[in-house]
């Protein structure tokens, strides 16, 4: 038995590299956008963070993965809230998760969802209670 048997398939896609990173501090608030998709990273930086700074809503860490393997199955939006997390599903392939206590916005974006749609309708629907 050798060390090459110690292999961890990333079935959940937790460890997809996110080379596009934008960050800034606004006083005590930290804004960070990480993505594997430049278009998503740029759009989120421009839209979500600017909006959030204007609203003085505190910092936000965003990690959004463009997930080509995800099914793009349907256009129905479902929002599930459990008191601590709020999750938006578009079909089952696009999943956005907001954890307000930890100021985190996490998600997987199916290939059929455009970056513009993500920032103009899906993320606002998730964040605006």
């Amino acid at each position: 038995m050798t060390d090459d048997r110690c292999w961890h398939p990333d079935l959940l896609r937790r460890f997809v590299p996110t080379p596009y990173v934008f960050g800034r501090y606004d006083g005590p608030n930290r804004f960070l956008v990480e993505s594997n998709d430049l278009e998503i990273a740029l759009n989120v930086r421009q839209s979500v963070i600017a909006h959030r700074q204007a609203d003085r809503n505190g910092g936000l860490i965003c990690k959004l993965i463009r997930d080509s393997a995800n099914p793009d199955d349907g256009s129905e939006i479902t929002i599930v809230s459990n008191g601590t997390l709020r999750v938006l599903y578009l079909g089952t392939g696009t999943i956005l998760i907001h954890d307000p206590e930890r100021s985190e916005l996490l998600g997987f974006v199916a290939r059929n969802v455009k970056a513009h749609e993500l920032v103009s309708s899906l993320i606002p629907a998730l964040l605006d209670k």
């Binding site: 460890f15 990690k63 599930v80 459990n82 089952t92 996490l106």
Partner: protein, 326 residues
């Protein structure tokens, strides 16, 4: 847009449950689901260090069964969906599973038994001091035997053969390990034993049972080991030995000691890498894996039937016990 609030004050049916030693505080709006999960709950003397919360809203408007599974995870959150009506959200830091399911899935005893409970223990286990290891587990007179091996190595057929040799059955594929005051405890779930089609050559009583498509797409017999083979089922035990199965073409059985380092490599390969956000859980898991890797470990290379290997293992256990007594 559909909005679903999993508001626990509206989930009027609550139960205190236990799965593989982990306490589960269930709240749901469905008395039917509460009964299904209660039937699966197993209380043991040895509980894991902490438990988890399960909040399930059953949507009475849909009966859609469990569809294709789809899993994703980032930081401390893991999501699972089984079709569009069945969504599960695991918050590992807060040790909470929140879900919205159809009436069809709420009633589906096998779905909870074979899929959702093992998945939940696998995902939330790290935060509860419960480590899934890819091992079968059998027990004889209080001594637990963990049997490791890659898929297809013969863990399940050997587990059934060992239960016919007088061992008590704990699990055939995945075992959940927790730490206790005195050492470690191995827990089974009520998951069925899964035997591949060629097992019918070794177990006559498989004839008459139907092959089913299991969660990974394989055709297999998925059976209640007590019902079909008359096995005595034990829910938890204290593991004493770790055996690595290695099937060969040559008839016979050879036991060779395995080093701590090799045991550790195998055990680490059983668990998923955790993200930095779950550093405490990863550290706790490391400690438990270390305890398992420190068990006396052997590689069993064998050729022949599972019944032959079971007899060899029974003799091996008897010898090890004599050594301890001497």
């Amino acid at each position: 847009m559909v909005c679903i609030s999993i508001d626990q004050t509206a989930l009027l049916h609550s139960r205190a449950l236990c799965f593989a030693g982990a306490a589960c505080d269930l709240r749901t709006n469905s008395p039917e689901l509460a009964r299904v999960l209660e039937a699966l709950s197993i209380t043991t003397d040895e509980a894991a260090q902490s438990g988890f919360h399960m909040r399930v809203v059953v949507d009475e408007s849909t009966v859609e069964g469990a569809g294709e599974p789809h899993f994703r995870g980032l930081h401390h959150v893991v999501t699972a969906s089984f079709g569009r009506s069945n969504m599960f959200l695991f918050d590992i830091l807060r040790r909470t599973l929140s879900a919205r399911v159809s009436v069809g899935v709420a009633r589906d005893y096998r779905f909870w038994k074979e899929k959702l409970i093992p998945i939940t223990l696998g995902v939330l286990g790290a935060a509860m001091g419960l480590v899934p290891v890819h091992c079968a587990c059998l027990e004889l007179d209080g001594d637990g035997l963990l049997i490791a091996g890659v898929s297809g190595a013969g863990k399940s057929t050997l587990s059934v053969a060992l239960s016919e040799e007088g061992f008590n059955y704990v699990s055939d594929d995945w075992t959940y390990i927790s730490q206790s005051r005195d050492g470690i405890v191995a827990h089974g779930t009520s998951a069925p034993v899964k035997l591949l089609p060629d097992a019918v050559r070794h177990f006559q009583n498989l004839r008459g049972h139907r092959l089913q498509t299991s969660m990974n797409g394989e055709l297999a017999y998925e059976l209640d080991v007590a019902e079909v083979f008359g096995a005595q089922v034990e829910r938890a035990c204290e593991p004493r030995w770790l055996i690595f199965l290695d099937r060969t073409q040559d008839k016979g059985a050879v036991f060779t000691p395995i080093s701590y380092a090799d045991a550790r490599v195998y055990l680490n390969s059983s668990v998923e890498r955790l993200p930095p956000q779950l550093g405490d859980a990863a550290a706790m898991r490391e400690q438990t894996i270390e305890c398992v890797a420190l068990l006396p470990s052997w590689r069993l290379q064998y050729g022949g039937t599972p019944q032959f290997a079971a007899k060899e293992l029974r003799e091996f256990v008897a010898h090890r016990r004599q050594e301890i007594c001497v």
